[in-house]
């Protein structure tokens, strides 16, 4: 991987038509003098996870429920895959959209497998096909097959939520709507379910819209975050890192909290940093060249590179007049990071190394160095290239 200043990570969906488009969607509930959602426009890229987040009363759930028409918009239009959702009967529309809610809403009088089979049965699938699909889903969501014959009340909260996800995915809908799906389980289970959703998404590539009030959950799960203010006004719609790095308004800044920089460390990767050669010279460099490099980086160490491979660090204080840097004893770089390491991991490594610099090991080759200063600068500059 070339470590270029303008590293543009893959955005394979950017040029495709968005899966869901909301155009000036407005909702006024009868008897309310203010709008629940005010002319909200949003494009949701296919195959991505978009989080709707905001304080209560911001209309995030209302917006979600307008997508599957559990709530009908007062005005504006919503398209899924280019088709206006009001064009078809609501029941038909909903059978093509997975729906997961916080309280799960499993049918208590139906067994787990009957619950999962709800939509396929409604669609008139054959028994054998339903059975095969259930087996597939049980594996996908990590459910013990022994649970299939049980009733929902015999399951733990985490298990119920897994069944809820399996039930929503049963007919393999391209779109999944999730309304605070992990809000009712304890933090440990929540973290695990979030991880499972991320790995599940890698396999199924659904277009997922998730409503949450938890900024950490949004940052962790979403490819893009839509931060809504009261009345369904989009304050900012951007990838999580951009929200953290460059809050569009004071409201966003307050909402994401004071620790947004440290939150960003877990999001950005070493490869996102501007390329930095660091105090590194060619193996054949002269003493003067080495001194110049150290001076430029205000460090006592100089690294030697030979034909793209990092040879090690030389202590600059031991370099006497006439010494060729190549002849001095070298220290192997203990601090090594990978381009895919998060900045938090890189920082951890730098803190414990003697050189205050981590060498990027790009599959055996020298990929540059990471310094605390570099990380700090990247956070201060804000936006790594890919989100600009």
């Amino acid at each position: 991987m070339a470590l270029d200043a303008a590293t543009a990570p893959e955005t394979p969906l950017a040029d495709e038509r968005p899966a869901i488009v909301l155009r000036a969607v407005t909702k006024r509930f009868p008897g309310m003098d203010h709008l629940a959602v005010d002319a909200l426009s949003l494009e949701i890229p296919r195959g991505s996870i978009v989080a709707l987040i905001g304080p209560s009363g911001c209309g995030k759930t209302t917006t979600l429920r307008m997508i599957n028409r559990l709530i009908e918009p007062t005005s504006g239009s919503i398209e899924i895959e280019g088709e206006d959702v009001t064009r078809m009967p609501a029941t038909e529309l909903r059978r093509g959209i997975g729906y997961v809610i916080q309280q799960v809403g499993l049918f208590p009088h139906r067994t787990v497998s009957q619950n999962i089979a709800t939509v396929p049965r409604t669609l008139g699938w054959e028994k054998a096909r339903i059975r095969a699909r259930i087996d597939e889903l049980v594996e996908l969501v990590g459910l013990d097959p022994a649970m299939l014959g049980r009733y929902p009340d015999e399951l733990s909260g985490g298990q119920q939520q897994r069944v809820g996800v399996a039930r929503a995915l049963a007919a393999d809908p391209p779109v999944l709507l999730m309304d605070e799906p992990f809000g009712a389980v304890d933090p440990i289970v929540r973290g695990r379910l979030q991880d499972e959703l991320i790995s599940l998404q890698r396999r199924v590539h659904k277009t997922i819209v998730i409503v949450t009030h938890d900024i950490d959950e949004a940052i962790k799960l979403a490819d893009r975050v839509a931060l809504l203010n009261v009345g369904g006004i989009v304050e900012q719609y951007a990838p999580p890192d951009e929200i953290l790095a460059a809050p569009a308004s004071e409201f966003v800044e307050q909402f994401v909290g004071d620790d947004r920089s440290s939150k960003r460390l877990t999001l950005a990767r070493v490869a996102d940093l501007p390329f930095s050669q660091g105090p590194v010279v060619d193996a054949g460099a002269t003493l003067e060249e080495a001194r110049a490099a150290m001076e430029a980086h205000r460090t006592d160490w100089v690294g030697l590179v030979d034909d793209g491979a990092f040879l090690g660090w030389v202590d600059g204080r031991e370099l006497g007049p006439g010494d060729a840097p190549f002849d001095r004893p070298r220290e192997r770089p203990a601090a090594q990071v990978h381009p895919e390491s998060t900045l938090r991991e890189a920082m951890e490594i730098i803190m414990t190394s003697s050189t205050s610099v981590a060498v990027i090991d790009d599959g055996g080759g020298f990929g540059g160095v990471v310094t605390l200063e570099g990380i700090r600068a990247a956070l201060a500059e804000g936006v790594p290239e890919r989100v600009a």
């Binding site: 559990l70 809610i101 916080q102 799960v104 809403g105 409604t122």
Partner: protein
Amino acid sequence: MISLLPLQTSEPLIRWNYIGDQWDDIQRKLIDHIELTLISVALGLILSTTLAAIALRYHWTSGPITTISAVIYTIPSVALFGILVPYTGLSKTPAVIALTGYTFLVLVTAIISGFRSVPRAVREAADGMGLSARRRVMSVELPLALPYIMTGIRVATVTTVGLVTVASIIGQGGLGDLILDGLRRTYWTPMIVGAVLSVALALVLDLGLWLLGRAITPWARRARVR
């Protein structure tokens, strides 16, 4: 009142030969009793379902519907039978009308509570998955309301078995005839046979309905086992 007490007469509480002698008559009255009970409860269930459906659909009607059912329930049965006879004549009709009316309060409130007990999230999930309203009601809400409805049916049935004995005063048969006959003639045996059979009938029907309710709501038993 005092003169009715059996202790003041030489008549024994029960003459066993009466049961054998009058068996055909007793059996006919028992069947009449069951018939009147079942017709009234069935009719009550149909009408109560309609009333409850209206109350659930149009919220403002639920107050008036419950109130009217409660008012009917409070009319003394003897009086109600008496009021109806001039309009309907001495037939099964006034008995069935009155007995059906008495079931409304219990059944309507049971059905309403049953449907209101369905968790919001369950209803939302059903809608969210694209079940039609009809299918949601029939295959999700109704089953979940069943425990309440079955309890209502049991209470209504037991109450009706008791009230049918009163319907005898307008001459519509049933085990009440035996009781009235016994009272009139200070002949305790038919009174006791009538009363005991009436209680036994109530218990048997209650037990049967309880077993039926258990059989059709298997999830309710498993739920607590976790």
